[in-house]
Symmetry: C2
Subunit: 368 residues, 2 copies
Amino acid sequence: MNDVAAAAGVALKTVSRVVNNEPGVNPATAERVQAAIDRLGYRRNDSARTLRRGRTASIGLVIEDVADPFYSGLSRAVEDVALRNDHFVFTGSSGEDPARERDLVLAFCARQVDGLIIVPAGTDHGYLAPEFDAGLKAVFADRPPGAGCRADTVLSDNAGGSRTGVAHLIAHGHRRIGFLADSPAIFTAVERLRGYREALAAAGLPYDESLVAMGPPDQERVRAVVERLLALPDPPTALFTGNGRTTVATLRVLDAISARCSAYHCSACRCSNDRCSNDHGSVRHGAERHGGTGRHGQGRLAGLALVGFDDFELADLLGITIVAQDPSRLGLTAAEMLFRRLSGHAGPGLRLELPTRLIERGSGETVP
Amino acid sequence: MNDVAAAAGVALKTVSRVVNNEPGVNPATAERVQAAIDRLGYRRNDSARTLRRGRTASIGLVIEDVADPFYSGLSRAVEDVALRNDHFVFTGSSGEDPARERDLVLAFCARQVDGLIIVPAGTDHGYLAPEFDAGLKAVFADRPPGAGCRADTVLSDNAGGSRTGVAHLIAHGHRRIGFLADSPAIFTAVERLRGYREALAAAGLPYDESLVAMGPPDQERVRAVVERLLALPDPPTALFTGNGRTTVATLRVLDAISARCSAYHCSACRCSNDRCSNDHGSVRHGAERHGGTGRHGQGRLAGLALVGFDDFELADLLGITIVAQDPSRLGLTAAEMLFRRLSGHAGPGLRLELPTRLIERGSGETVP
DNA sequence: GACGATGGTGACAACGTTGTCAAGCACTCG
DNA sequence: CGAGTGCTTGACAACGTTGTCACCATCGTC
């Protein structure tokens, strides 16, 4: 900027005015300055600007994993809102590690982000107190902050969505419904379990702990869980899967089981064959309709009904009934709440719950 | 920092030394300072630090869309490498708009990012020249920079992968192969078209322009394209789709066509029925094997063979043969190249090409 | 006992911007 | 002609760090 000022024969401050489109500069001078700027390829140093003004025009976003479609949808929405507000976004993935969440958050604070959107991995946010005192604004998304933290929060209606999904299976005659979800350390998983229990209770069905399995959605764990469930003396006739990754992993397992067993007592055409070489205990045979209009998934679910929490790509094609939450709406809402705070809005911390939506595609509408 | 210094009864500089773990501080003093830091909840202001040191310890990442699984995988890899190198990542989505790409890049530069990883939307990167002069390091990923820009570049072997995929279809007896890809403004699409043509040429097959359709992968456009192809007097018996989104959109279209037509001349069991009420011209009927071990997709492709560029979630389950590139390897490689430059590595701009891999899953192995 | 080496500490300038305030100028009005 | 007004411009300090350099003890050595 110094060089530009010298080149244009004006003072530093005048260049600053031109760069910032401040009023009160003679058009002729402005043009001269602009010419010097272009000639020298000058670009404002936003670090210095930030230091001087105290605002960085950037926000931090801490999520679990950008590579997860749920969070990448959320990210995109946050980014869009931020850009509309002339802010940039630092993104960091915590990988469900509370320590990493904390490190990321504090690092973003040291970078003087104006605000934060956090999908918390941990449950203690005491470390944020000094930051809040220093004027930091934060919004929690998808999961609430730990006790004692009164920040704005945007959640999905996890319990309600889960209740609806499970009630849907019950309405189709299912009495034994397996429940697979993420680890009980995760808020959403616990809420969805609550919804599951509420739906059972509302229908007067017992809660059977042997039908419930919670843990990380990795393929091998899910495989073991599904096989355990199907080997029960009184196995489930339907599954409710508590997040997108678990649903997908479950689909793979059920598909493999279906493929191992080529015997079908087909309910549509009444044909049957006994080429089944699979020692699969009491697994019911699939109800694939030969040449019918059923969707892909239905013939490949080892005879089980399935409803999942979270929509995912190709769920439509596979005919998987799901309870949809809207990740981009979650991100959008969180970002808008944050920018409202940043523009001076005071008032107590809000807690919003976004509705979910049951989308029927076939896999949840089969009878036991 | 001033307050901390006052509270600990030391000079500013000593606090600075403690904060930065610089040697030469009396342990007792350091402890006193640390206590003051903790008591006051002090956190270093990285804006000032940046201003003083000239390095921001952050990099910028410009991609097409974080919400696209391809780019979110790439992002995650970049983020991981950055974190390992104690850097943070600004991410911005260009949405294939060259102007937005430019704005993002320049905004990141104004923020003094140490380096950039760019998936370019545009083909003119002259605007970067002053930044390069000022010492900016940049790596281009997935697509090369515009002419005249000698920056490091990491690409997938687009033409080669496409050639392999198409040759695979040819090897299975296909002579009329439709080619669907992204807009010809996009480097990868053009390269993949080149691979398609090379595979045809190598097999002595003619290049028929009416079998080629390029444009954005939105569902309605793809639907129209597929329907046009199938209505040709001599329709294709196979399709090669040039990216993940196009593949998925194509699957939806073919599924809808298959569902509309419930007539199957089943090659596996020789049964046939004529309940087909669909006016689908010369569309071949699906080869679904009733109760066989085939994968989901094969019965739902309207009788067409299909190979797609890019792997995607559930492609395994659907039995879709694809040419896989590795987005996270792309991101990892780009980030490592960038950090090599940042740590002083000089030398001419490199251009790397990562290999692709054909994964056979059924949809690409059916005969015409 | 004088000297240099060593370890610990602090004063000060500088990084590149912007907010504050004041000054210069041309013009108008009484 | 002088005061008042509005427009344009510039000098200067400050933002919170860190690099440079200098200072002062303390210690060991000749």
